[in-house]
Symmetry: C2
Subunit: 490 residues, 2 copies
Amino acid sequence: MFLELDGHGPHYSQLTRALKSAILSGRLSTGARLPSTRVLAEELGLSRITVLTAYEQLRAEGYIVGRVGSGSYVSTSHAEPMLPRRAPAIPGTPLTRYAKRARQLADWSITTRHCDRRLDMQYGRSQINPTLGAIWGRELAWASTRTRLEYASNQGLPALREQVCDYLARRRGIRTTSDRVLIVSGTQQAISLTSRVLLDEGDEVGIEDPHYFGAWQQFGAHGASLQAIPTDHEGLVCSALPAQAPRLVMVTPSHQFPAGPALSLPRRQELLRYAQAKNCWIMEDDYDGELRYDSAPLPTLRSLDDDDRVIYVGTFSKVMFGALRLGYMVLPEALCDDFVNAKYLCDRGNPAIEQAALAHFMEDGGFERHLRYVTKELSARRRELIAGLQQYVGDRVQIADAHAGMHVTVWLPDYGHEQVDAVIAEAHGRGLGLYSIAPHYRKPPTVPGLILGYCGLSRAQLHEAMQLFGESLDAVDAARKPLSMRRHSA
Amino acid sequence: MFLELDGHGPHYSQLTRALKSAILSGRLSTGARLPSTRVLAEELGLSRITVLTAYEQLRAEGYIVGRVGSGSYVSTSHAEPMLPRRAPAIPGTPLTRYAKRARQLADWSITTRHCDRRLDMQYGRSQINPTLGAIWGRELAWASTRTRLEYASNQGLPALREQVCDYLARRRGIRTTSDRVLIVSGTQQAISLTSRVLLDEGDEVGIEDPHYFGAWQQFGAHGASLQAIPTDHEGLVCSALPAQAPRLVMVTPSHQFPAGPALSLPRRQELLRYAQAKNCWIMEDDYDGELRYDSAPLPTLRSLDDDDRVIYVGTFSKVMFGALRLGYMVLPEALCDDFVNAKYLCDRGNPAIEQAALAHFMEDGGFERHLRYVTKELSARRRELIAGLQQYVGDRVQIADAHAGMHVTVWLPDYGHEQVDAVIAEAHGRGLGLYSIAPHYRKPPTVPGLILGYCGLSRAQLHEAMQLFGESLDAVDAARKPLSMRRHSA
């Protein structure tokens, strides 16, 4: 009997696969008697135990019948041989419109790339509190023995929803009740559920320019017609909102992502009046609104919303850590049931133990302590960053900032886009990872800018990083000086 | 100054809200000087600290300017008053097609109801191992300090994907590599992602009758055109598959859900040939395929699939616990990138700590030990259940079973649907929760049946439950006897 072993894994697995293949292809026909284990072992140069194990496996899977000693036979239920293997698989399969759009939009590099330099200023790193892993581990262990392990509420653990309500009332001026709160896996899922509930294919969505790329991708893949609305130093330019209302406007009022400014109070009111007049929904993405340093926070849109049309989205990805995958939505009454339905249909709710751990962490005060630590530490890093900018970079950059969050955006009005690319390349050569803001725009800004994430680096590292930034600028300045000299002398 | 406190929460919050409302409505106009804290405290009968706290809050939020002592003024950025509050909110908002369909399908009672009887035989309870909570807590604590807390791979932690590959090779005869495995939140999310990637609105899906209701709901809400294909004692009736191929056929080959039989090997081959001939995809939902007791397992469709068109879905909800929210898909090469894209867009991946804990649990052998315990315990409960059926119920029921899983389906061919409803009511009266199989069908079966979930009850409880089931049948038999007597004597 010819059996070709494929060389992957233990011998008995190889033999099992080879025999299956012989049976399914019809080379070993129905009812055929297999060689005895002794004979086959000798034939193939394998131990008898190996052959016995393979036969046992085939018997357990119904390929062969009979017992060792009285002979093994190919089971009659394998009567019809399979068609031969075809490759490549299904080349002509039509893609769905969603999959096509997702492929077109699938440039994940913007949100997930690392340039892997020693000092990396990528936005979104969140491991600020070195003891959080251990603290969180204790919370998880605590919750594991106190949580029902069965399917939980798809709307989210009631205890966590209650804690979120308290937190929003204290920190964000939002009054709500737990039946209006939906626990989600983070902002990305909030956007995905919102697409499901609010947008038919072709419906229009207004989104800030620049914006969180994952939102643009999700709305786009869903089939929404996206309109990028410009922003300035007061955030979304409300006067640029379309006369024909979209179904939804998505904004980051606390800290425009990623450009930096807060949406001014007059603009907040203008946006709410627009939504009311045009009968559209607003999604308020408050991704890092609680991380504020030395300025007074503005009221959230949701807290100003007398008309119940703001969908508020918060996340623990920034204040806790990205791998947690927990966030929350505060929903208008008219949409609440539909979002809870959609959450059920999408994944039946979030893991219960992590929700119980977080509820306990919040109730117990541990979360507030962590938040104070993080705010203090980030504030110190931010000061270090800005001091370093002043010392080494000076007035070659302008800072656009809402005194919040985990990054500072700087503009370089005296440089062209290509020169800033050269600065980035110089920085990379010096071990500093810098990131341009341009990929976050649909319509690239006239002035080039950089996003300086200060979460992943210590204060000492930030000082060094700004020194390297300054050196990188010096290098580019030196290279272009002859040009301007020439111009002056011309 | 007239200020109405709303009575919710601490006094300072009430006062803050009342002042905000006065400012936003224009009753306190821009630039107006607020009363001193002392005067307002006296006027409202509040402590001065309360008023100070409220003013501080308003100052922090940018509503007022100035300092205590020199007077507080309404900030000029509140120039335009808000429109008055309208209720109810947005009554005329059109629902999306998805939301409309989800509302129509939103009878969650089938999958989530409990009748809350002392002995409850609901399907899907999974807390069999009483030490699992503590064991799992230790794994989580272990993983918390060893896992990067930043955003992880949206395809799933590589270590867990590797463990899933090993596990599938050993337990389910599936050979795959970790780049073809996608970690998901469970079967429901697998269905949701499959809808996104494979189905445009109106595309046809073949699904077994009976079936998991969450699949019907998700495909239906997504806009698929659903065709229920009948099943019999060999599982899906392949000859009933439509001549015009659907895009996708979803099946539960190991243990038809919820009716019980395994898809026979000839039918497996017939289904694969059908998919190949018609160029459609198959989703193999192997929700409890590893929980087998005294029969040899049949090969999974995926392991027989030479044509790379089977999407294999496994879940840890049954073998671990429902609140874990972790499962996995083995993807055809042609679809892999599209599913990973869709996972990113839906939620950016599952929590990293739980994935790391599970990978360690699997690598360390703890998972196999747990699985052996669960299999042994469930097997003993199943035997107890069947012995109890034989003792108290006898040949009044027929057992349809693949010797697998966490429930046994029984048919009552001598009873009408109304009589079985009466049996259920009798059982409820005796403290026993019984569940009809009928709601899981589109086309109700001619013979009534019951799903007996044996996960939530101990062996002693199962014995008692079968005794109560027998008594409930006796009561209904007694009530109908006179009828049949009368018929005989007529």
